[in-house]
Each structure stands twice: as C-alpha cells, then as structure tokens.
C-alpha cells in the first residue's frame, strides 16, 4: 500500500501528465530522440523526489518511443531511432490513406508491449533479486564485464568502433580521486573534477549537444505533409489484433529480452523483432509494401524493450540501454543505489515504481490518441525555432547541477567528442554504459583483489562467478567460434559435392 500512496498524489500525477506531453512532443519531432528527451529532463528531476523523478523518466521515454511513429508514418522520417525498422511499412500504408489506422495499431501495440514488459519486470525482477543477494564483488565484477561485452557484441555496425566507444566511456569513469589510494586521476588541477566526472553534463553533451550539432551540420529542413487522412484511429485495431495476436506476443517477448541485454535498446529490439516477424510470416513477400504484420511485431517490441531494460538496471545496477544508464545515474544522485536491496527495504519504492510503469503505459492510450489527432501540428513544429531553445536549456541545465561553469565546459567537450565519434559511425550507447559501469568494474575488481591478496584465480573460485566468467570468455570467443563453424560447414559441403 505504501507504493500506491507514493504514486497516487497530486505532484506525481501532475509530473506524469507533464512528462507525457513532453515525451509525445519530443518523440514526434524528427531529430529529437527519446534518450535526448530523458537527458534534457535530468536537470529538472534532480530537484524532484525520487518517485516523481523516476515517473517523469519512465513516462517520457515510453511516450517518446510511441510518438516516434508519428513522423515515421506521415513523413517517412522516424521520430526516434526505435521507429526506423518499420517506417517504410507505416509510410506506405499512410500513402494509401491509412495513416491513422497505422498509428492506432502502433499505439495499442506500444501500450501492450509496455505493459507486457512491465509484467515480466515485476515477475522476474523479484526472483532475480533473491539470487542477486548472494552476489559479492566477484559476481558483480563479471556481471558488469558481461554487460559491457554485450554492448559491443550487440551494437549495430563495427565492433571495433563499439569497443573504442566503450573505452572512451570507461576512461571518463576513471576521472577523479582513486577509490583505493585517493590519488587524483586526470583531474588536471581542476577541483570540480576531484569527485569524478559529473554524469549529467556528460549525458547532455553526448545525447543533446551532439544531436544539435548534427542538426546544424545538416541542410535546412523542409517538412511538408502530402498525406490525407480521413480514416478512424481505433476502428480496425480489434480486427488486426485478432489476426496478429501471436505477433504481438512474440514482438513483446523479443523486445523485453533484447531490452534486458545491456547495450541493446528499443531500436535494436524493433529491428530484430521485425526481422523475426518477416522470416516467420506466411506473407513475407508483402513486407515492405505496407503490411500491418511487421508493424505489430516491431511496434510492440520497442516499447517492451524500454520496460525490459529496467530488469538488469534495478536488480543488478547494470543498465539495459542508454535511458536506464541515465536512470541509474539519477538513482545514485538521490542516494538510492540500484541493486537487490531496493526490493527488500520495505519502503514500497519498488512497488511505486511498478505502478508508475503501468500508469505511464495506460496513460499512453488517451494521450497517444490525442497526439494522433494533432499529429500534423507536432510534426510541422519548425526545428529552426526549437533547436536554439533546446541548446539554451542544455546550457542552463548543465550549470544547474553544481552551479558550476566547469560543467558547461564538460558538456561542450564531451559533446564535441561525441559528435566526432557519431559522424564517423561510432555508437554512443557503449560509451554511456562504459561511464556507468566503468567504476563498477574497477571498484569490484579492486575490492576483490584486496580481499584475496591479488589472487586472480579467485574470480573463478565461486560457482556463479565462474559461470559468469566463462560466459564472458565465450562471448569474446564467439566471433572466432562462429567463423570456425562456418568454415567447417563450407568444407563439409564442398566435400559432399
């Protein structure tokens, strides 16, 4: 009951409502991502209580992921990367005059996916937390290494670039006083850096300033909508759901699973679910020409991915995606360390969090419906007016955390580096995971070594720790193993010919 009381009060409900509108707006404007929305929100959440702060982040991210479908449908430009997988399908249907029908199905699938992911979170997290209670520095070390490794192997594109991006994040995490010796590292005589790199300016630099630079570096936008919509939002939804309920369940399950893997967020969940849907469909030839089936698969997957990412974040403190990486930073700032103990502290905080998830996803129905009706208004908001406002918000937001100009410099430097990396095809998610998990890896390694007198074999002395260690080694060997398997297969095929 504590949890209900924490959520159902005027302040939290107001925050959820405001965050819904903010999330819908940011998601619906092409070029602004859900992660950017959350990064912009963090300076404000810093001044809120824990539950409204988390509620704001949960609601904003869920709404933004759905709203990303709106410009995807009307303009063929995904509002957020999570909509990119099925933007072709949506736009093809919109050109046939079925834009609202597509968005209606997007909305219902998003709500279902979000709630499905939340139910998995509620069921799995509790039992995982009981296992996690037995973990010591050895297990947490391997778990963090496993998380970091996943972020390299799951990322889209070059693994070398993902690896370097991850190292950049880890290097940032080493700035400040060393935990063991108290020696300052990479502080360059700046007192503000002694306590370590401030998380929020880095987030704003990486996800907001980087994207703003990308916007100004691109040619000016001309957004015109040629789609005419006179169809109903929900009229055909029951028919599609009845026909594709298996896709809905499969998309949600894949999304939750992919979301729970560190480094893979809603965008990868949508791509994989769309690919699986296409591979298993009887009508796979229709994919790409405007087929609802693929939309059901991927649209449920991206929202369930958002919820799934919270499983490792809450239970182990290992973020599942960039958004939960930001959340973990916020939780630490509020003195609430994510980990199994938050399930057992009796404060009802975790139950409040679950209620927030359900509430945010349910509120998506009316607010999403309103957004669909007003979609043209959102899409045509001129970025040339919006971007300077976001930039000023970033500057003031970065300053607000410590009232320090050093944080604005930090945002600027990290933003510049992130921009250079991003335009050269380096993914950003591993960098942010590196920043969050770098200190977890180092601190657990050091405390384990202190306990065992520097004996490295102790990392394989406990059964769970050894299991996790072997999983990490196998993951790193997987490209070689796959190559060897393919080579053997080709060789045997040639021999049989």
């Amino acid at each position: 009951m504590n949890g209900v009381g924490l959520v159902l009060n005027f302040d939290t409900i107001l925050v959820i409502l405001a965050a819904s509108l903010f999330g819908i707006f940011v998601g619906a404007v092409p070029g602004l991502t859900a992660t950017m929305a959350v990064a912009l929100l963090v300076p404000l959440t810093f001044y809120m209580d824990t539950i409204p702060a988390i509620a704001a982040i949960v609601t904003t991210s869920a709404m933004a992921i759905f709203a990303g479908d709106i410009p995807g449908t009307y303009l063929n430009i995904p509002g957020t990367p999570a909509s990119a997988a099925y933007v072709g399908e949506s736009h093809a249907l919109a050109k046939k005059g079925r834009a609202r029908e597509v968005l209606g199905i997007n909305l219902v699938c998003s709500v279902f996916g979000g709630i499905f992911g939340t139910i998995i979170l509620i069921v799995v997290a509790q039992s995982l937390a009981e296992v996690a209670l037995k973990f010591s520095a050895f297990e947490y070390f391997w778990l963090a290494v496993l998380g970091l490794s996943c972020s390299i192997f799951i990322s889209v594109g070059s693994r070398t670039k993902a690896f370097l991006s991850l190292l950049f994040g880890i290097l940032l995490s080493t700035v400040g006083l060393d935990m063991m010796s108290g020696a300052p590292r990479f502080t360059f005589g700046v007192p503000d850096l002694m306590a370590g790199i401030n998380f929020i300016p880095v987030m704003i630099g990486m996800f907001a300033l980087n994207e703003l630079m990308g916007y100004y570096g691109s040619k000016s936008e001309k957004k015109t909508i040629s789609i005419v919509d006179n169809d109903s939002v929900f009229h055909n939804v029951p028919r599609h759901i009845k026909r594709y309920w298996r896709n809905l369940l499969r998309g949600s399950s894949i999304g939750t699973l992919i979301g729970a893997l560190p480094g893979a967020g809603a965008d990868i969940a949508a791509w994989i679910s769309y690919g699986v849907g296409k591979g298993r469909s009887k009508d796979s030839a229709k994919y790409g020409t405007g087929h609802i089936e693929g939309i059901v698969d991927a649209s449920s997957a991206n929202n369930s991915g958002i919820s799934g990412a919270w499983v490792p974040a809450l239970v182990f403190g290992i973020p599942g995606d960039s958004i939960t990486a930001i959340v973990i930073g916020v939780l630490y700032m509020k003195g609430m360390n994510p980990g199994p103990t938050i399930f057992m502290d009796g404060s009802g905080l975790i139950y409040a969090l679950f209620i927030v998830f359900i509430l945010a996803n349910l509120m998506m129905l009316p607010i999403g419906y309103m957004a669909i009706r007003l979609s043209k208004l959102f899409i045509l908001t001129p970025s040339r007016v919006l971007m300077p406002i976001i930039l000023c918000f970033c500057i003031v937001g970065a300053f607000a955390i410590n009232n320090s100009v050093v944080d604005i410099w930090l945002m600027l430097i990290v933003g510049l580096v992130a921009y250079l990396l991003a335009v050269n095809g380096f993914p950003m998610a591993p960098a942010i995971l590196g920043l969050v998990l770098g200190s977890v890896v180092e601190n657990n390694f050091m405390s384990a070594m202190l306990r065992t007198g520097g004996d490295l074999t102790s990392f394989f002395a406990r059964p769970i720790s050894a299991g996790l260690g072997i999983a990490v080694i196998l993951l790193w060997c997987s490209p070689l193993l796959i190559k060897a398997y393919r080579y053997q297969k080709q060789k045997s095929e040639r021999a049989s010919l």
Binding site: T160, S181, G214, G217, L391, F399, V405, N424, V441, G453
Partner: protein
Amino acid sequence: MRDVFAGIGFMIAGIVTIITAQQFPTLPSLQYGPSLFPSLVGGGFCIGGAVLTLNALWQRRKAAVQEVQGNPTLAASPSEKMSWAMVLPPIAIVFYILASDYLGAMLTITIIMFLLMLLRKTKIHVALVTSVVMSSAIYFIFSHYLLIPLPQGVLLGGSLPWIF
C-alpha cells in the same frame, strides 16, 4: 579515409593515456594501483585504433583493386559533407560562458536563441518574440522555481523585473 585518421587519433590518445597513468602514485600494499585501469584503457585504445586503421587501409586497397578490375561501384565511398554550421552550438556555448557574467544569463540566452533562429531563416518577429518569451521562461524556471543562482550580469546590475 576517416577511419584511418580516427584510428591514428585513438592510438595517440592511448599512448598519452598510458604515459599519464604511469605518473599516478602507487602504494606498496596494493598489488594493483590507480594506474591499472587507465593503462588498460590506453592499451585498448592503441589496439582498437590499430585494428581500425589497418581495416580501413585494407578496405581501401580492396576498393582500389576492384576499381582496376572495372567494378567502381564498390570502390566509391560516399563521403558525407559536413556543413560549417555544426560549430554554431559550441560557439554559442563558449559565448554564454564568456558573456553571461557581464550580460546576465537571461540576456545571453535571448541573444543566442535570436541569432540562431535568424541564421536558419526564421522570420524576425517570430524569432524575437519566441526568444524573449522562451528565455524568460527558462530563466524563471531555473532561478525562481529551482533556485539556481544563474548569473544576473553586471550590465543589468541585478535590476531584473520583480518576478525574476
């Protein structure tokens, strides 16, 4: 070609990181000192940078061979042109850092918004009204509601209207 430079950049960053890390003090009681992780990161930068560079060079060579063989489609690598305008946000931030103590946060962000909007061909009256209203709103939220001591500026001498 960009990957070659990025790879070289990472290798240089790796060497600098390792050299800097070697200067961190070590304690005789600790087997692993504060330089361990930064050195590992530096080593990783060197290895990753080398792999990136060699890979890019190999791809270039492969593309050149294909061009010779009369298959230029694979050889041509589209190079995305970056506009100079991408430096506008960083310049605006540096301007804020340098000017806000004198002009005050509100006036500085108004100027930034107004100029950036004009540069992207926003109508002058829209740019003026939006920048004044939005900078006032941002200033009000942060300084009045969140109690952040944003610089008031020497120019206005703290004489902002009472609501701020």
